[in-house]
């Protein structure tokens, strides 16, 4: 009797459902996956090395391009890390505006996840619906900063410009429209027998395994671990907001789907609170020599013009030391580790990428299961290759 041998199949870098340039080498025995090995690096950009050669605030646009589905949360992480290093205290209005926009970013990222995940499973119209909702949020980005995706709106010490005049009107429209449309999504998918068959019991990971693999974000919370950095180590005024942490029970793809829908609803709640209670005040801290002065002052006062010139050409000198600031990005725990050697450029910027670490657990999720579950698992981890490869 000849022994059964396994077939090695290559889900190549160009594939309709790998969410970018991810390559997975799967060894199959019939339809069962014996071994799955992700190969990454097809989008490696050397962002960390590029940031070492730029001044501190010139490195902010580089952070946008990492997790390009949620660009404002990357900006927030980097700005908070540099503000921690320089010990800058930002005004209250800046903190609340940052919370409002970061939660909108979370909603936008989860909408894209929902559209592409459902597309992989076969529900093709979900992509068209969620991208239509995302256009409303992109409209807010464009009003704030002028750019649809890579807005770079958060700067060191505050915001890039004042909040736009129709900020509140646009967000109230979003708060009215999105809950209605969410009912449509739930009617399409939550009790759909095909969706349940494809996601229930698929890509399961237990709570102990999730902690051992250093997973974070919805991957960790889907297994029952109640850990959210917005509640555990709050940053940027999150302690003043009232929201719940969504957790799952089984750790399978269906629980993560329900969890992310609940996160969208909680984010809408936070945006509502932020809009109702937004304090008045300046949109930038006043730290001469470090934070760029507002443009009205630059055009009228001499000291502001001199500081503006100095900051743009030479930057500011950071104290020697190493800081780490972690935020709860839509994909998980996004951390920025900045090591400074006392000059005006960072010595080392390290980004703790949640998608990279979550993707490392892919073999544990799919080995022993059917091949069709690989696609569901990749979609359920919610990776974005710009962050995996940096």
């Amino acid at each position: 009797m000849p022994e059964a041998k396994t077939v090695t199949l290559n889900m190549g870098p160009q594939h309709p459902s790998t969410h970018g340039v991810l390559r997975v080498e799967v060894e199959l025995d019939g339809e069962t996956v014996v071994k799955a090995r992700p190969v990454i690096g097809y989008l490696h950009t050397g962002i960390e090395k590029t940031m070492e050669s730029k001044l501190y605030y010139k490195a902010i646009p580089c952070t946008d391009r990492m997790d390009y589905l949620a660009p404002m949360s990357n900006n927030l992480g980097f700005c908070l890390a540099v503000e921690k290093l320089m010990e800058i205290e930002v005004p209250e209005k800046v903190k609340w505006a940052r919370v409002c926009l970061t939660e909108l970013t979370r909603i936008a990222s989860h909408l894209v996840w929902l559209g592409t995940h459902a597309l992989d499973i076969g529900a093709m119209s979900m992509l068209l619906y969620t991208f239509r909702e995302r256009e409303l949020i992109i409209d807010v980005y464009e009003a704030c900063a002028g750019q649809r995706m890579m807005s770079t709106y958060f700067r060191i010490g505050g915001l890039a410009h004042e909040l736009p005049r129709d900020f509140e009107k646009k967000i109230r429209t979003i708060l009215k429209v999105i809950p209605e449309r969410m009912k449509d999504y739930e009617a399409l998918l939550t009790n759909n027998q095909i969706f349940i068959n494809r996601t229930k019991g698929v890509a399961v990971i237990s709570a102990d395994d999730a902690i051992n693999w250093s997973l974070s974000g919805p991957m960790l919370r889907g297994s029952g671990v109640k850990h959210d950095l917005r509640k555990a180590n709050p940053y940027s005024a999150y302690e003043k907001f009232d929201f719940e942490i969504a957790t799952g029970t089984n750790g399978d793809a269906y629980d993560r789907y329900l969890l992310r829908l609940k996160e969208i609803r909680q984010s809408l709640r936070i945006v509502q609170q932020a809009l109702d209670g937004m304090p008045e005040g300046p949109y930038r801290a006043h730290v001469p020599g470090v934070v760029l002065p507002p443009k009205e002052d630059v055009l009228h006062k001499m000291e502001s013009m001199i500081f503006h010139f100095k900051i743009i050409t030479e930057g500011f000198k950071a104290p020697k030391g190493q800081v780490y600031q972690a935020i709860e990005a839509p994909k998980g725990e996004l951390g920025f580790f900045i090591s400074s050697d006392g000059s005006n450029k960072p010595n080392r910027v390290r980004v703790r990428p949640p998608s990279f670490i979550n993707l490392a657990a892919l073999p544990a999720l799919v080995e022993g299961r059917l091949f069709a579950d690989v696609v569901v698992a990749i979609g359920s981890i919610d990776i974005v290759l710009g962050e995996v490869d940096r």
Binding site: P16, V21, T45, G46, T50, F131, E135, M149, G386
Partner: protein, 167 residues
Amino acid sequence: MGLEERIPDSIILTSLDKMVNWAHKRSMWPLGFGLACCAIEMISTFAAHFDLSRYGMEVMRPSPRQADLMIVAGRVSMKMAPVIKTLYDQMPNPKWVISMGACASCGGVFNNYAILQGVDRIIPVDVYIPGCPPRPEQLMEGILKLQEKLEKESVKDKREEWGRQVV
């Protein structure tokens, strides 16, 4: 159409050219090939708000053997460059390439060891679209420019000699 290799140079074809060009430009099938951030804008262009299927590009084929337009959307890293060349070689003639975004056209924001400074170093490009990322309207303008370029083509042209001089 294998006919075009057998037509001698002394024959001028006008109405056949017009018909073939009209058929080419109104029903191009793009290859589903998004690399990075520009891919999201490309998907937005294909989605409901800015609809690209009114230009005939409704069907996005995942296999290069069935596609004739390759929109390189995103930054091309050194590890991905041989893959792109293989995909381009696998596409059958006639084929066109749109380089979308600053990173695909010239390296963009990133000028370092890991990013190929422009995808036109390995494959010939027809239309370059600047932007980081380009708005959906800019992508549609680029596609319209490609259609204008298509109107000047003829059935007799040999597609293999087209394109910029590849370095």
